[in-house]
Amino acid sequence: MQERVPLTEREVNRDLLRPVFTTPLWWWAAVGVLSVAVAAGLGSALYLAINGFGVTGYNRPVMWAFLLVNFVFWVGISHAGIMLSAILRLTQAEWRRPATRAAEVLTIFSLLTAAQMPLWHVGRVWRIYWVFPYDFGRGIWPNVRSPLIWDPSAIFTYLTSTILFVYIAMLPDIAVIRDRATGWRQGFYGVLAMGWRGTPRQWHLQAVSGILLSAIILPIFVSVHSIVSWDFGVAVAVEGWHATVFAPYFVIGAVWSGVAGVITLMALMRWLFKAEKYIRAEHFDGLGKLLSVVGIGWWFFTLMEIIFSLYSKEAAEVSFRTLQMFTWPYNMLFILFFLTGFVFPVTLFLSRTVRHNIAAMFWISIFVNIGMWLERYMIIVPGLMRKQGLTFTWGSYSPGATETILVGSTFAMVALGLLIFSKFFPLIPLSDAKEGEVLRHEIQVGKVKVPAIIREA
């Protein structure tokens, strides 16, 4: 569109590989700060593992809290990568190009972070491998009826396929770096490039596997958050969790928060890597449009969940909802959730001016994720506080320092992962950008020009 400037391959290479070959001071500073935060998080995780859950704010009956909230949150964020890459690739949305890599890598790091949460969350970390079919010899076999067995399977499948997906898409870029690198880097990238020479056959295979992987990953992506939702959905004992609508509700919520996460990331990349030429307002515009639909859809499910649960007017449900929405301090959290998770973003995303204002998009996307973190909290914690009609045992929860630090540091973990990744690989795909340049078209639709949809090889 209007901001787009034609670029030569040379320029593309120079711009996009700059972060790989030069290391600005801010990078070191950021890595330093984030490492300290990550170290603090891992330190508190170890402290927790060594001393046990006594050091947290967990209690009876709130036995799942901050760590599990954070788990669901990061699994949710991880959904953006596939959402953008696979769906947009299959539907051949042209504007996806600069966004895909970052989104996919965000998936990897948020998944790795998410996977840590259940690890620190169990009482005996050193036995966590028992959830894998590993130790039949000693009569340890996993219980396939348990969602906690589905979870690791789903997440590791998702993680594996995402890594593959990223890797295959990145092959041509790795080859470019290999060709420019010297010394040990040459060997390193040489091995990773697996002999990529850019022959037509290699391009063909790469494109086909990209499409195939997209098609395979899509059901995985739907299943992962469905399964995460079933951790809660199958729990007959917790009224606030036991809802059939959870799977689609969680999946669309994941897309909502994940794509918002991609916006945050893209804004940051644009500023940090000076990638204005590649990440342009049109991309924010596209994502904003997409999100306003997703956001409304997600809100529909939120309403459905509340309406369905209140329809029966069961006393325990009603008291759970009363707590969640009208009782101090949860009413404040609920209002905050409602405003940041729905009202602000959806209304603002409807405005074209806002969609083209990158700073605004950045802040709104942060809002969405504040709202979405709260959403998970509002489901998990008050649900446990008001379990069944045993009002005598109903309780409350306030997080302890240990889990708060750990949860806080997960944001640093993801950021650090992305920063370090950016040091080794371009966050904006070179080949895609070039391909986009080659296939660039705009077509007039009514008054506006939109990026053309082009058949890929």
Binding site: G52, F53, G54, Y58, N59, R60, P61, M63, W64, P118, H121, V122, G123, R124, R127, I128, W130, V131, I140, W141, P142, N143, R145, S146, P147, L148, I149, D231, V234, A235, V236, A237, V238, L384, K387, Q388, G389, L390, T391, F392, T393, G395
Partner: protein, 257 residues
């Protein structure tokens, strides 16, 4: 030998009209089952462990406030222990089979298998599962009291009422030795040496334990009482603990609550 003997199916009847809330069952269970000492801090942290607990519900508060007649206030007591559900929601969610149903109707907990996900406790509607937030410790001299037939649990795992399985096992061993089913009296709370500690202590005979498979046992007979009901029956957990309704002169039978 007793290979052909009919299996037991253990169950309990709790007659709410008898329970005074005296806590004898609670302390008896603590003593029998090596339950960690609940210090003040554990209560403040809301992590006290009581495999059987007495819940106390207030009633008539509004009426008392309206009329100023305090005698309208009622306190109701109910002992709650693991219901040993036939269809136990805690069981399928455990990823490592640390909790399962045995062939005598018990929901058993295998401590050394549990990894501490705390999923089972979320999915137990009765809130009778307890997580060891801290490593249980006793002053050295108190180790002398610990029951050698019961494991001392470690931190990070789940524990709960076992229907005093160690006592039932001893009864079972006697059955093997004698080659016959033991009389229900041996497991009965009145004087049976194999009856669970809580039932054996209960001074009002609120807790009646026995074999549901034996049609003549006290527990089977009482389970048929027309005051019987199951706790949170609508969830469909099919508990092996049957409650008998509290009798109240002011109860309106239509709304049986």
């Amino acid at each position: 030998m007793v290979t052909t003997r009919v299996r037991h199916k253990w169950g309990m009847v709790v007659d709410l009209d008898r329970c005074t809330g005296c806590q004898a069952c609670v302390v008896a269970c603590q003593a029998e089952n090596n339950i960690p000492i609940n210090l003040e801090q554990h209560f403040l942290q809301r992590r006290a462990i009581e495999w059987i607990r007495i819940e106390r519900y207030w009633e008539g508060l509004e009426e008392a406030e309206k009329t100023g007649d305090l005698s309208k206030v009622k306190a109701r007591f109910i002992p709650i222990l693991c219901q040993h559900c036939e269809n136990a929601p805690c069981e399928p969610v455990c990823p490592v089979y640390a909790t399962y149903h045995n062939n005598e109707g018990l929901n058993v907990q295998i401590y050394n298998r549990c990894i501490g996900t705390r999923y089972c406790v979320n999915n137990c509607p009765y809130q009778v599962r307890f997580f060891n937030f801290w490593q249980p410790t006793w002053p050295e001299s108190l180790h002398n009291q610990l029951n050698p037939h019961v494991t001392v649990r470690t931190r990070g795992i789940m524990e709960k009422c076992t229907f005093c399985v160690q006592r039932l096992r001893k009864g079972g061993r006697k059955e093997v030795q004698e080659g016959k089913r033991l009389d229900d009296k041996e497991f009965d709370a009145q004087s049976g040496m194999f009856a669970p500690a809580c039932a054996r202590a209960c001074p009002t005979d609120t807790l009646v334990f026995g074999d549901m498979n034996d049609p003549n046992s006290r527990v089977s007979t009482m389970a048929k009482d027309n005051r019987n009901y199951k706790l949170l029956a609508s969830i469909g957990t099919e508990p092996n603990v049957i409650y008998l309704k509290k009798v109240d002169l002011d109860a309106s039978d239509a709304a049986t609550h």
